[in-house]
Symmetry: C2
Subunit: 374 residues, 2 copies
């Protein structure tokens, strides 16, 4: 089935919108939060548990899977869905972000990026064509163009050169893509925090008429206000009838801000990583379970939460599990944090539909705090 | 409900038997394998998952729970069942084995054992009365008398003194026990590898008319043949109409040998600990998943296995998870290994009933190996 995005509703209050992505492995409601399963597993979770918390799509990483177990093994397994036993949509990141995070271990040329494996020091080269070949082998429903994610801060000249190269690479990705009927290729808008570069990137990529577009290079250390500013001048100019994906964003407040500005998709390792460290997302902000105050607190993490963890376990028990480094603690925290974000996004969709988004956001901030809790 | 053991059937081929333990939290079929949840969690597993693999009873540890989170917290939570969200029977070890494992960190007197906490070096003292008080607070269905588990090898004189003290302590445990209508106190037969001591221990403890008896001090490093020998002269003399529990035994071959000699209950951390190290129990012996041969092996761990792991995941995927230290790997391996042992015990019960136990055992050994695979 070809990829299709249906724009279902646009808020009258703000730029928030409702939509549906139809993919090879099913429909995804937008705006959506995508749990991250970097290495072909959303850490600690089974696919059945992800379905129970109503995860509609997950993200996995081309770079990590290319290094281990390797694209050949996943291809031989029948693709990433079969390999990891997940039959709903998967989006794979292109590997650009990870490769560029390697610093001195990588070298960028027009052709692509040479880098050394963090596992065994072996030499590798990923070009736009290679990134697409790997993702074709993985068989993910949405694949990402190979881009350079610039750091923050970044000079204008570097950001300009990099953005232009990312655009040239996007074209090469589109040409190399062998599976456009089954896998939707998204382009990635770069340009650091420079308005003219962002708009130029957006304009050039739009000409490629790709099925969807992402905003990359945000949530890389810049102040929240700056991210919002970039979103404000970028998102409204993105194609109206195509999904808009803000990469690497996933704290509750950032999600509100992004959705308000017209973003349809977001992902972040934060909720799962926090969970493994014993930090729980709640309607009142973060709860650090190892705190002694929870020693004999037999109430659930969040009174209002309907997740498996909150229905069955007390703060005292969860604290005990974390104090003892028991794996069940990381599991129960991950279930809770992902449920929290997925459920929050569900309520956001309802609020958009009911033209109640801004009031819902303000109510949430009153208890949770605003852009200061991350 | 008072504890009751029903002897349902005795094999004509050997000393194996079928029974039922009726406890405050439900019925347990014997012979039974009990998964170990040392610190109020069977490592990596939820209670629902334990039920799915048909775990009927789990074991937890008084010593660990006394140190953390502490008996008061579990009592305040409403007992161990509520604390950990497990509503089926629980057996708690008395802490004797753990305290005596501390070596130089503990000092034994007639009154009890003084020891230092492995967590913070603080001083503690557990007497028979204290061990029972803690277990009364935990509210487990079966509680164990406070005993000394002697090491192997052990001199005759030490084994004799220790065994006699264990017997005196068992009497004190019985007197201190405040909850005999809800919690069944089991005595523990000691005496190292000395026949006269074992029989004396058994004889004296039998006079206490406790609801069940365990054989302690085995599986502590002695050769398998020696364990079998002790079982051969001990088990047949144990009360016929009371459950017989072999402590700390849980490899498939040892289970066969023990059940053949009349043992009704067994527990071991082996299957769960092995699982976390990537070793899977299969009908053909152990499978070490990190072995390179499984890199692109897309078959399940065990073709004949009906567990969740074998139904949904390949060796290649499991190897990938273990190579990447992904928690899901430990989870899937634990599910498999516990299912393997619980299902094996279920088939053993069927074989006993059908007077087919010895043939079943021999068939199993042909593929799995005999007492050489642990």
């Amino acid at each position: 089935m070809a990829f299709e995005f249906k724009l279902l509703y646009e808020s009258k209050e703000c730029d928030a919108r409702l939509g549906e992505m139809h993919t090879t492995h099913g429909i995804v409601e937008t705006p959506i939060f995508m749990p991250v399963g970097t290495k072909a597993t959303v850490k600690t979770m089974t696919p059945e548990e992800l379905k129970e918390i109503e995860a509609q799509i997950i993200l996995s990483n081309t770079y990590h899977l290319y290094l281990r177990p390797g694209q050949d093994i996943i291809k031989e397994a029948g693709g990433l869905h079969r390999f990891m036993n997940w039959d709903r949509p998967i989006l794979t990141d292109s590997g650009g972000f990870q490769v560029f995070s390697l610093g001195n271990l990588r070298k960028i040329t027009e052709e692509g990026v040479a880098f050394k494996s963090y596992i065994d020091g072996s030499d590798h080269f990923i070009s736009p064509e290679k990134a697409i070949e790997i993702q074709n082998d993985l068989g993910s429903d949405i694949i990402m163009a190979f881009d350079e994610c610039t750091p923050y801060p970044c000079s204008y000249d570097y950001a300009k050169d990099s953005m232009e190269r990312t655009t040239r690479w996007a074209k090469r990705c589109q040409e190399a893509h062998k599976n456009a009927d089954l896998q939707a290729l998204f382009g990635i808008i770069q340009g650091s925090m420079y308005k003219d570069l962002r708009l130029k990137s957006l304009e050039d990529l739009t000409l490629l008429d790709l099925p969807g577009y992402a905003i990359g290079g945000l949530s890389v250390g810049e102040p929240a206000e700056l991210m919002n500013e970039v979103l404000e001048y970028t998102v409204p100019k993105m194609p109206r009838y195509k999904p808009r994906y803000l990469m690497g964003v996933g704290s509750p407040d950032y999600i509100f801000e992004a959705v308000e500005r017209g973003v349809d998709m977001a992902d972040c390792v934060m909720p799962t990583r926090m969970a493994r460290n014993g930090a729980f997302l709640t309607s009142h902000g973060r709860l650090v379970i190892k705190n002694a105050t929870y020693k004999n607190d037999f109430s659930p993490i969040d009174d209002n939460c309907q997740c498996y963890t909150c229905k069955h376990y007390s703060r005292a028990y969860l604290r005990h599990l974390f104090k003892e480094n028991e794996i069940l603690g990381a599991r129960l925290a991950t279930i809770h944090n992902l449920f929290f974000l997925i459920n929050l996004m569900k309520n956001i969709r309802i609020a958009i539909k009911e033209e109640n988004f801004l009031a819902f956001k303000n109510d949430f901030y009153k208890k949770y705090g605003y852009l200061n809790n991350n």
